[in-house]
């Protein structure tokens, strides 16, 4: 029988979260957001990427009051806070990037001023490299 090693001490992987859906029509956006928050506990490197309609997830001024649904736009602030925390803490080896694909953003008439959180804008070609060098990609 194969022996598996489940020792995780000191293991560092880069996980990319690929958000491609708008926030309220389907459950994808919220599910990916929850998995990002859970993964923060494991201090892994992460790329939180917004592509296609996923860029609408972080559009500011969302107000779901009339839908009787919870508005989870403020929750993305945790990602920003975790990233800043990790950047400032020298003892912490955790590199997070919050990335928007330029082509997706522009196709939807958006600029970085429309977003609730601070993002890094990359071209398709640059983003292709980020995906290719990830250890795991979680789609949504």
């Amino acid at each position: 029988m194969t022996e598996y090693n489940f020792e995780t001490e000191g293991v560092k992987k880069t996980i990319t979260y690929l958000n491609r859906k708008a926030p309220y029509g389907t459950i994808y956006a919220l599910e990916v957001l929850e998995s990002v928050l859970i993964s923060a506990a494991f201090e892994q490197h992460a790329n939180i990427v917004f592509v296609d309609d996923g860029v609408f997830q972080i559009k500011k001024d969302q107000d779901t009051a009339d839908l009787d649904m919870k508005c989870f736009l403020p929750t993305y602030g945790i990602i920003e806070m975790e990233k800043e925390d990790a950047d400032e803490d020298e003892d912490m080896d955790m590199n997070w990037r919050i990335i928007v694909e330029k082509e997706s953003m522009e196709a939807r008439g958006l600029t970085t001023d429309d977003f609730k959180i601070e993002v890094e804008v990359l071209s398709s070609a640059e983003l292709a490299d980020v995906l290719d060098t990830s250890d795991a990609v979680i789609g949504g």
Binding site: E34, A40, C71, P74
Partner: protein
């Protein structure tokens, strides 16, 4: 639905004692919930409750225990920055018991 009576007002709660509308919370209510939980509220207890409420107001979700530990450590020093210390304050767990006193919804998962 059952309710807490606070200064003449009725504040609804679920079968486990979590209030159903976060916005109805006040400190008198927190004291009543804490009494029901058998908690002797100290400054440290109130600091945790205040932190939970501030965090929830900003992010619309309860913090991960790890984040809470970090915040307590910052405020009260490294010897109190541990999961163990939080359990000393809230024996049924910081997530479940402290959230109840703070008027937050019952945490659904590990965050």
């Amino acid at each position: 639905m059952a309710a807490y009576s606070v200064n003449g007002a009725e504040i609804e709660h679920d079968e486990e004692g979590y209030i159903t509308d976060v916005s109805q919370w006040n400190r008198d209510l927190a004291q009543i919930i804490a009494d029901a939980e058998g908690l002797d509220m100290t400054d440290e207890h109130w600091s945790v409750v205040d932190f939970l409420r501030e965090y929830y107001n900003e992010y619309q979700i309860a913090p991960a225990v790890r984040v809470l530990v970090k915040a307590v450590k910052k405020k009260f020093g490294p010897e109190k920055g541990s999961n163990k210390y939080l359990y000393e304050l809230f024996p049924y767990g910081p997530a479940k018991q402290a959230c109840k006193v703070a008027g937050l919804p019952k945490p659904t998962g590990c965050v």
